[in-house]
Point group: C2
Chain length 223, copies 2
């Protein structure tokens, strides 16, 4: 049987969707992309992801999986080849810890900065979380979180490598500078220049600054 592999994404692809693109690309899996208009979600999307109603949704031979990191783990287990998670159980646990820290702590902390412009405490919290990543890269001394090659931790951090810079450029609020976070800056450059990543990054977006800030304020503002 030939595998039927579908990925429901959004028209201006999100870091969450791209995580799945990168994982599939690493494994050399062919797949169909279905672009969703998130302002007018398809019946398929609502059927496959009735709880979060979000992309990405991954459908393998008719069976849907939701949540980008859950999908990446599934892909790693089902397809042979490139190891996206370390094979050793301890190293695997450590990688999961970092992926979860980036996903659940670091990324929301930077979202909050754009939702609470001028709030020094919110900015200090984002700096504190990013400093932990900076230190981890310094201690490891490797090109990627995964070592010589990217793994699930790098994939989890794709937002920091690419989208964060775009948001910073648009809003003119700079969080990750070369001065303050030299290791993260270096890692980000390595990551987006990694062939398998470069192939799936979406074009840089152009959204008016006010619209972008209004979005973050509404979703991540304190009030």
């Amino acid at each position: 049987m030939v595998d039927e592999v579908k990925l429901y994404g959004s028209t201006g692809d999100s870091p969450y969707v791209c995580r799945v693109d990168i994982a599939l690309n690493l494994k050399g899996v062919k797949y169909d992309v279905i672009k969703e208009d998130l302002k007018n979600k398809s019946d398929d999307l609502l059927k496959y992801n009735p709880i979060h109603k979000e992309v990405p949704v991954f459908v393998h031979n008719g069976k849907p999986i939701c949540d980008s990191l859950v999908i990446v783990e599934y892909i790693d287990q089902v397809w042979e080849g490139y190891p996206i998670l370390p094979v050793d159980p301890y190293d695997k646990a450590v990688a999961r810890f970092w992926a979860k820290f980036i996903d659940g702590t670091c990324i929301p902390a930077t979202f909050k900065v754009f939702g609470n412009v001028g709030d020094e405490q919110v900015l200090a919290e984002a700096y504190e979380k990013l400093q932990i990543l900076e230190n981890e890269l310094k201690v490891k001394g490797t090109k990627y979180f995964g070592g010589d090659n990217i793994n699930i931790v790098d994939i989890a951090a794709d937002y920091i490598a690419y989208w964060l810079g775009m948001i910073e450029d648009t809003t003119e609020i700079k969080i990750v500078t070369k001065d303050k976070f030299p290791k993260i800056t270096e890692w980000a450059e390595n990551f987006i220049n990694c062939q398998v990543v470069k192939e799936v990054l979406p074009p840089k977006f152009e959204v008016p600054k006010e619209e972008l800030l209004a979005y973050f304020k509404q979703r991540f503002g304190k009030a």
Copy 2:
């Protein structure tokens, strides 16, 4: 070599620590418990979990792992016997999705209720998330989320089965009633009466109502 297995917990054990107790109990692993005073954290705890500075910390042959669900996955992979996660990759992904939904969405939604007493919108959001669990149990029609036996999803939900009721009793704010959530109520009873769970549940706590509400307000209040 004999395995050295240590679990750093807290004096009045938390649902997060208990997840690890349950997993170890399911596998029949012998382990040492080190009780932490969270108001005066030990050097070991700060060394092993410098990022979150929280329990549980699991130390296997000198190597630390943090984050309760990451620890549970590690235990399932390292020790043979009872399968805590389904073996099939698709079923495993679905279990991970639900465990994450409970951990990252359902539990914070109920915490918020106690931190924002009287806020109807916060209560409605908690109801909405719990209703998703209620429906899932109804559709499955099984004794546990895991089927005839508990799995990682049930373990992730231990807070809802046991601690939530204690907090409800103390604060006199009832969220999960038999009327509104009959399936969750039934599941909770089954879960806490499951031998392997019963053995590790901590004694019911006695905290003054005001103190408990003040804690939730400070940590999960809107302001």
